[in-house]
């Protein structure tokens, strides 16, 4: 195993261009790695070997003709919540057992248009509901750095696969931190783009006003490459915005001079894990050394974010998941009449966390409770958004921890959903405000678990946070460390 399949998209792309390896080599190496390592991690839920190899052969031919897009022949793993024509799309739920997508998500189609190979489907929390990837009909995913620990969630399969070397890069989705938090737990780069930057068409909705698709990669440059390929207005998604798409890779200049980075004091609380706190503070100091100015910032409504998030997200989810009723697709339990059939089908095939959130969401939208919960949450959401707008008049980006703790043990928090929800405190705000956020590795605990630094930027401020993340990454070596289960042997 010596192809750049275990390095980065940039390296693999260069090797393909130079002809030192083929796309078939890349895919074969990854398939072999998946074969040997996936059972320990449970990151992939399905891999279409033959289709992937066929796409790789086609990509090699395209490249031989001197054609092909920016990702020609590059294999990408896809979170099980995104539709890829002909592939299963089970959203890690029993209720969609046997379901196959009749169409491509727009983001997927755009990667395909650039020549990317859609290697396989990655495990996740059921319907993207969870922060530990323990809520999956396929079983929990394990953290490559310590398989007794969770990889984070809900894009846990994507992060674990990238960290373990069984995916070169992957797609995740982020509704309240579901890209950034697992990226942080697994030592990867995770980007949640601005709401409306990437089309949501084909993303099985959890919370429509919060969901975004984004990349989980080994380097910031790779995240930038995938962002460039997937971004832009889509006539199929009315909430995607018609903003110009820059070449995000070209913006990675490494130059931080003149940039003001804010430290929101509400994100450096007492309860935060001391090793996380230390790693993030040291990363902040490092950024100062790189030429950025660090300023103190306040985001006063942060303490209401978790409550606000879990009202809005569950309300939207309760409607979004209503379609899973056994009438047109997926699992069905027989009943005496349609309502009975729905009840039995949904009771039998949704997992407990999904049911909990549907019930919460149904409650907050119910007659008599709407004003007190949903309407009030929307008002607080506006205040949180205003906090950020205010903050970004004083600085270019914010530096915060991604999660108050590093990865915890499997089963450690499953008995206490509230405790699990509180772990999302630093990530849900970006979704509520619709801004962009990036997680980059910034250290390890003594136990050897990764810690992530979060960069938050204003709406359509991806260029700034990617530039800061890239400069930080390139002047540190956290992203080059590999876990014990690493599939790739020595890096190329």
């Amino acid at each position: 195993m010596a192809t750049p399949a275990f390095s980065s998209i940039s390296t693999a792309r260069a090797a393909l261009q130079q002809g030192t390896c083929s796309s078939v080599d890349l895919v074969s190496d990854l398939l072999a790695a998946i074969e040997s390592k996936n059972s320990a991690l449970n990151a992939y839920v399905s891999v279409d070997r033959e289709a992937a190899l066929a796409q790789a052969r086609a990509a090699d031919k395209t490249r031989a003709r001197g054609e092909g897009g920016t990702l020609c022949g590059i294999p990408i793993g896809v979170k099980d919540v995104l539709n890829v024509t002909g592939q299963p799309c089970q959203c890690a739920s029993d209720i969609l057992k046997g379901y196959r997508s009749p169409y491509d998500a727009t983001a997927v189609a755009r990667l395909r248009n650039q020549g990317a190979i859609l290697l396989g489907r990655l495990n996740m929390d059921e319907f993207a509901m969870g922060s530990s990837n323990e809520n999956s009909a396929f079983g929990a995913v394990r953290n490559p750095w310590d398989t007794d620990h969770v990889p984070g969630g809900s894009s846990g399969g994507s992060a674990a696969a990238v960290a373990a070397g069984i995916a070169l890069a992957a797609l995740g989705t982020d509704t309240g931190g579901s890209i950034r938090q697992p990226a942080s737990f697994c030592g990867c780069v995770g980007l949640k783009p601005t709401y409306g930057r990437i089309s949501r068409f084909g993303l099985t909705a959890f919370a429509s006003s919060l969901d975004q698709i984004g990349p989980i990669t080994r380097t910031v440059a790779d995240a930038a490459a995938l962002l460039t390929a997937m971004s832009g207005h889509d006539p199929m998604d009315s909430t995607s915005l018609d903003q110009p798409v820059p070449d995000y890779e070209a913006g990675l200049t490494g130059d931080l001079t003149g940039l003001k980075l804010g430290l929101p004091r509400e994100y450096f609380l007492d309860g935060i894990d001391s090793e996380v706190d230390a790693a993030v503070r040291s990363a902040v100091a490092h950024c100062e050394k790189l030429g950025a100015e660090v300023v103190d910032i306040s985001l006063p409504h942060t303490k209401y974010a978790i409550a606000t998030y879990y009202i809005i997200a569950t309300a939207e989810a309760s409607a979004n998941l209503a379609r899973f009723d056994g009438v047109r697709y997926g699992a069905r339990e027989a009943g005496q009449d349609p309502l009975d059939m729905y009840g039995r089908t949904r009771a039998a095939h949704f997992g407990p966390e999904v049911k909990r959130r549907i019930i919460l969401g149904t409650y907050v939208l119910s007659s008599g409770y709407y004003d007190a919960y949903y309407l009030r949450a929307q008002k607080v959401r506006t205040l949180i958004r205003n906090d950020f707008e205010q903050a970004f008049t004083q600085c270019d980006a914010l530096l915060t921890p991604v999660s108050p703790t590093p990865a915890y043990r499997l089963g450690e928090r499953t008995a206490d959903p509230i405790q699990m929800y509180l772990g999302d405190i630093f990530t849900v705000t970006a979704n509520l405000a619709g801004i962009c956020g990036l997680s980059v590795p910034c250290g390890f605990t003594q136990a050897g678990l990764p810690v992530g630094l979060q960069l938050l930027g204003p709406a359509f401020g991806e260029e700034t946070i990617l530039k800061v993340g890239h400069a930080y990454e390139q002047s540190t070596d956290w992203h080059q460390r590999r876990p014990g289960v690493w599939a790739g042997g020595a890096d190329v």
């Binding site: 995104l82 539709n83 799309c89 959203c91 969609l96 379901y99 997508s101 009749p102 169409y103 998500a105 949501r200 068409f201 084909g202 993303l203 099985t204 909705a205 919370a207 429509s208 006003s209 006539p235 199929m236 998604d237 009315s238 909430t239 309300a315 939207e316 309760s318 409607a319 209503a322 379609r323 899973f324 009723d325 009438v327 047109r328 697709y329 349609p338 309502l339 729905y342 149904t362 939208l365 119910s366 007659s367 709407y370 949903y374």
Partner: protein, 478 residues
């Protein structure tokens, strides 16, 4: 003497809009396809799909609002209305809750010569649902209809009888068809309504408890069900009973309304703003352009027909009832230069043909140009009325040029005095008794002699000239 009761009826009328494609996707908006043919992942509610608003549906709703005198909301939005039913692909319907496209407005009706204004409460836009079909031991859902743009027009409870409700629906249909907003074809389910009905003693100010009758799809059914329901409610109150707020179902065969099980309608719809769609913001210029594109409405047109063409009120009403007929009439009137004759032809011969054949005027081979030319031939005395009716019958069958038909069938009117005199002499000689009767004072005998002359001429004689000739020859009646 028992107290009299007042009736209050409000209608929620659902109208399918005449767009090419569905409201959220590109599937065809057509009727009559095989089941589940006009469908795609979007209108089937597949995971990951999203709606994209068809702007034409917004335009047609706003046009309806403009025709009904509504206030158009410059800022409008969509909301999710949640309920589980197999005809709902997503188990929520995208509708409009607190920011509908149109507010206010009214419809003019006339019942037994009495005119009345029925106020509109609001008009909103939503998606139609699928259609459930029930077979032996199983049910199937046909999603062709799912996602058809559906406009809901909610009236105020201003209607006070079944007749008024019927007239309201007819007036509404007429306006919407005029505006090209919908075909309002009831057989195809283009127009359906829910009825809210309550009664109260005349002395009572406050509205009585209402019942709702759901899913009526014929105007006749609305009339019959209301006639039943009004009587049921009054009878109930008269015998000291109580009206319960409930949803009732019309049983057309038995001719009664029946209470539905509470489980069937007790919904908490849990409305909240649709996060997949942006609010609809209408520009002033856009609304003005739509306003300018509106056709003349039936009531205005009727007044114009009366003043411009000097038509009797009744005739004007009949002619404007259907836009296609009114358009046809106006073309004939213009081409013939004789509105009175055009109206006569339309009111008699044309209406008879349309009703005998149950046909649409646009489907007949006879064009307005042909009918206009035919009227001219009559006015120019090229053909007489009996001949013209023969030509008309031919035009209705296969169209063509009236002059050519007159020539081919030899229908040209004979006005040559010598020929007419010969036929007149012939008739007098052959009918001495009629001559005597006429001279003895029987006017009818002259008509008989006239008929004989027409017969001899095979219908081609110029009737007024024949009459003159007969009078001249026989002298005045005695």
């Amino acid at each position: 003497m028992s107290e009299e009761y007042k009736v209050s009826i409000g209608l929620e009328t659902h109208v399918q809009l005449k767009t090419r494609s569905k409201i959220w996707c590109g599937c065809a908006n057509v009727f009559g396809s095989e089941p589940n043919v006009d469908v795609c992942p979007i209108c089937l509610g597949y995971p990951g799909t999203m709606p994209v608003l068809n702007r034409e549906a917004v335009k047609l709703t706003v046009l309806s609002g403009l025709m009904l005198g509504c206030e158009i909301n410059r800022y409008s939005k969509f909301d999710r209305k949640s309920y589980f039913y197999p005809d709902m692909p997503k188990n929520y319907q995208i509708s409009q809750y607190d920011k509908p496209l149109c507010l206010g407005g009214s419809v003019e009706i006339e019942v037994n010569g009495k005119k009345k204004t029925i106020r509109i409460h609001r008009i909103h836009l939503e998606e139609d649902v699928a259609k459930n079909n029930h077979f032996d031991g199983a049910s199937g859902v046909d999603f062709n209809r799912a996602g058809t743009p559906l406009m809901e027009i909610v009236s105020e409870p201003d209607l006070e009888s079944a007749d008024e409700a019927f007239a309201y629906l007819q007036a509404l249909k007429q306006i919407l068809v005029y505006g090209g907003v919908s075909d309002c074809n009831l057989e195809q389910g283009n127009m359906r309504c829910d009825i809210n009905c309550s009664v109260r003693p005349e002395s009572q100010e406050q509205l009585g408890t209402k019942t709702e009758i759901k899913n009526m799809n014929t105007f006749k059914g609305v009339h019959r069900s209301l006639t039943y329901e009004i009587k049921r409610q009054i009878d109930e109150l008269r015998k000291g009973g109580k009206i319960y707020q409930e949803t009732r179902r019309w049983d057309d065969e038995q001719g009664v309304t029946k209470a539905m099980r509470s489980k069937e309608y007790a919904h908490d719809y849990r409305y909240f703003p649709e996060p997949d769609l942006m609010p609809v913001v209408l520009e002033e210029a856009e609304i003005e352009a739509w306003q300018a594109s509106l056709p003349e409405l039936p009531a205005t047109r009727r007044q114009r027909f009366i003043s411009e063409y000097s038509l009797p009120e009744y005739d004007a009403g009949v002619l404007v009832a259907e836009k296609a007929i009114a358009d046809y009439f106006e073309q004939v009137a213009e081409l013939s230069g004789n509105a009175k004759a055009a109206s006569n032809w339309m009111m008699t011969e044309m209406m008879r043909v349309l009703s005998d054949r149950d046909a649409e005027i646009v489907d007949l081979p006879i064009t307005p140009a042909a009918l206009g030319a035919l009227i001219k031939l009559v006015d120019d005395k090229v053909v007489n009325m009996p001949g013209a009716k023969t030509v008309f019958a031919e035009l209705v069958e296969q169209g063509g040029d009236p002059q050519a038909i007159v020539d081919a069938k030899g229908l040209a009117q004979v006005s040559d005095t010598a020929a007419l005199d010969a036929w007149v002499e012939e008739a007098i000689a052959a009918n001495p008794k009629s001559v005597a009767d006429y001279q003895g004072g029987k006017q009818a005998a002259l008509q008989f002699l006239m008929g004989q002359v027409m017969k001899a001429s095979r219908g081609k004689a110029n009737p007024p000239m024949v009459l003159d000739a007969l009078r001249e020859r026989l002298g005045a009646a005695g």
